[in-house]
């Protein structure tokens, strides 16, 4: 029997604390993380609310699998209406806190209302306290965390903390854990700040055991060999996600100068392998994970290992987007974002946008207060990031709402420099190289996201390789032999792998460990893991349906908020050919994109004109209850 979900519900306006239970038969349809978050969001607020009002709810959701002894199970989704996109908001994180939300007995924590003065939440099983946090307000994440440990006289704590950016409701503020990990995307930190909630603190508890531990051990006993046999995972362990920089640079698909190019001159100075050889001090991992992909860097007197190290996305947004080839400047930007609580993707991309505006004469030094926002000038990061986080001076206020809103204020053609979808800045994987991402960036319910589907190279893999064989377990695909191919096959790939990734985000499993292509464990092993964990006999089809249900709930929420196909669009620059580098000339056309989008909606069972789910699709997924919402 599927376990029931225990939801800790805290109303900060009413100062009430309740524990609610969702029966197992319902929980099984929305089994944690992103799906559970959406289920709670839809049932506890309206899609038309102001995301920064007391009416928004902020949900931290794990899953029945969180904390079991295997790699890639310590993940958590934060869900709320996003202030950045205006859509359903959704952001994942790893680390240790997911396990300890679960070890305290909770599948989700739902925050309602808004405190009058700053507070933090302390959880020790049923002992849940709303504690005063006036003395923590204004502090950077690391200081706040230290202060809380001192105050509680307790080291065995895990916490989710916002920095000044969240307090000031910067629209891309993040929620930080262990000073090194972030629920970065969609401005979840701003929602937390709007509720005057500085932190959620959980006491570490003993984790529970899976249904069949000895069977589960058959998946973990050879993990070292399994890693050694997988060159992608080896590279992830050695160079972190920053290793991706090397490949994108080599192929000429590293978004450069605010996406004007894919080739960065001097880019070898910011490669993942360069980081490994220079500033890397150590590695870090999430609870129970054997891969250790997290970076820890140190630059004496400048960057502290306490704040981890840059991921690929951060290297790109502060590096190639801004044409900066100084790794130290990028590492410092990463640290500042973790200290102040800012999403490194949106922050770096917004600064790159501002650099293009500055060079085009749309921003002047009077507004920037003497900061030379030129491409290549990485020294601006330490000046401008705190201003954004504090909403300080005109430039800080302007950029704190992201590039799309800044462009509306700047005018004079600044909007053509905006590289966003649904007002969220695009991550660093170029749709010209990976055209399935053109579809997924456009249709993804919470804006452009690179972790919402498998990437196209899986369709270019040898037909006897793991990548090809695993991905074809989801559906039958045609092989692809070059970059830039966007057709019905890619639309199908986008849809089928999006469902799989949506399911992983619901089961709260890491996409580097569990996946349909290059990862450590594939679809068959996932089914075994589920069986050994919960005695749940499932199938690929049932798992895909979980993902499909999650995506449809999001699309329906967005439809209620007024979103249609009109918002499923890409910046004009994405339809330009790559101008230089080894793959110069690679492009996707608008016609191909619109045709693929039509096909995607057909696969999804959505209306081609509105882009929203047909009633029949909702009924098929057991989501008929959605149509009673307004």
């Amino acid at each position: 029997m599927f376990p029931a979900a225990k939801i800790l519900e805290v109303d900060l306006s009413k100062k009430t604390i309740n524990i609610n239970v969702i029966p197992g038969e319902i929980y099984q349809k929305y089994p944690g993380g992103s799906a559970l978050g959406m289920y709670l969001l839809l049932n506890n607020t309206k899609a038309t609310i102001d995301p920064l009002s007391a009416e928004n709810v902020l949900i931290f959701a794990v899953s029945p699998f969180t904390g079991y002894p295997i790699s890639g199970q310590s993940r958590m989704t934060v869900t709320a209406k996003s202030p950045l996109t205006g859509t359903a908001g959704d952001s994942q994180v790893g680390g240790d806190i997911p396990v300890h939300i679960k070890s305290n007995g909770y599948d989700a924590i739902m925050i309602k209302g808004k405190a009058n003065t700053p507070v933090y939440l302390y959880i020790n099983k049923e002992d849940v306290q709303i504690r005063e946090a006036g003395h923590l307000w204004g502090k950077i994440t690391g200081e706040a965390e230290k202060e809380i440990r001192k105050e509680l006289n307790e080291n065995h704590l895990e916490m989710s903390v916002i920095g000044p950016a969240g307090e000031n409701m910067v629209l891309y503020a993040s929620i930080i854990h262990q000073q090194t990990r972030a629920n970065g995307r969609n401005g979840m930190g701003a929602v937390m700040g709007s509720k005057k909630l500085k932190a959620i603190v959980v006491k570490q508890q003993k984790t529970s055991l899976p249904y069949n531990l000895s069977a589960l051990k058959t998946l973990t006993v050879d993990v070292k060999k399994r890693i050694e046999k997988n060159p992608v995972i080896v590279d992830l362990a050695v160079n972190g996600t920053a290793g991706v920089t090397d490949f994108h640079l080599q192929e000429g698909f590293l978004p450069t100068e605010n996406w004007k190019s894919g080739y960065l001159e001097g880019g070898e100075r910011i490669k993942g392998t360069t980081m490994t050889k220079t500033i890397l001090k150590g590695t870090d991992t999430c609870y129970g994970c054997a891969i250790r992909c997290k970076r820890v860097v140190e630059i004496e007197g400048k960057v502290s290992p306490e704040y981890g190290g840059p991921e690929y996305e951060t290297v790109s947004t502060f590096g190639s987007y801004c044409k900066v080839t100084n790794l130290e400047d990028i590492a410092l930007a990463n640290q500042l974002c973790n200290m102040y609580g800012l999403d490194t993707i949106s922050c770096g991309a917004t600064i790159a946008f501002a650099m293009e505006c500055y060079e085009a004469g749309l921003l002047n030094e009077e507004l920037t207060k003497g900061i030379e926002l030129k491409f290549g000038n990485g020294k601006v990061f330490e000046k401008i990031i705190p201003k954004i986080a504090m909403r300080e001076e005109s430039i800080g206020v302007l950029l704190a709402d992201g590039s799309a809103r800044a462009a509306e204020k700047i005018g004079n053609g600044a909007e053509k420099f905006v590289i966003t979808v649904k007002k969220q800045e695009m991550p660093a994987h170029m749709p010209q190289m990976k055209p399935n991402l053109a579809i997924n960036y456009a249709v993804n319910p919470f804006g452009a996201d690179h972790q919402s589907s498998e990437h196209d190279p899986a369709l270019m893999a040898p037909e006897d390789s793991q990548d090809w064989l695993w991905v074809n377990k989801l559906a039958s695909f045609k092989p692809v032999k070059s970059y830039g191919v966007l057709d019905e096959n890619k639309a199908k790939f986008a849809w089928e792998t999006q469902k799989f990734y949506a399911m992983l985000d619901s089961l709260s499993l890491c996409q580097f460990v569990w996946g349909p292509a290059w990862q450590l464990y594939g679809p068959d092993e996932l089914i075994n893991f589920i069986k050994y964990s919960l005695d749940w006999d499932t199938t690929i089809e049932e798992l895909q349906e979980i993902g499909e249900r999650r995506i449809n709930m999001m699309r329906y929420f967005n439809a209620l908020a007024g979103f249609t196909r009109k918002e499923d669009k890409l910046p004009e620059r994405i339809f330009e050919a790559i101008p230089d580098g080894p793959n110069a000339g690679t492009k996707i056309s608008k016609e191909e994109f619109e045709h693929a989008l039509d096909k995607y909606y057909e696969f999804a069972g959505w209306d081609i004109n509105s882009g929203n789910p047909h009633v029949e699709t909702l009924n098929k997924l057991g989501l008929d209850w959605l149509t009673n919402l307004s």
Binding site: D235, T241, G243, D246, E251, Y312, E313, H450, P462, Q466
Partner: protein, 90 residues
Amino acid sequence: MLKHLISLVWIGSLTYHKEKIDGEMMEVTINNKKEIIPDNITVAELIKQKNMRGNCSVWVNEKHLLLKEYDTFVIQANDDVKIIVILGGG
């Protein structure tokens, strides 16, 4: 005696090296660029020589090779080779 043996080995290795340079190189196209590579090189050796990390996908004269062919498929002069690193997200 030992000195004599070392000299022989040294002379032998020089001869081998000379042959590699003089007679065993060929021109091919790799990812649209002309390159000179050793003759009789297999796909697996080429990938290693080019220091390509991760999983690679290889086409030779438009033929998409299977992984199991990498150790035995020998590149010929004037072949058109395409190598792509199979890379996911991150």
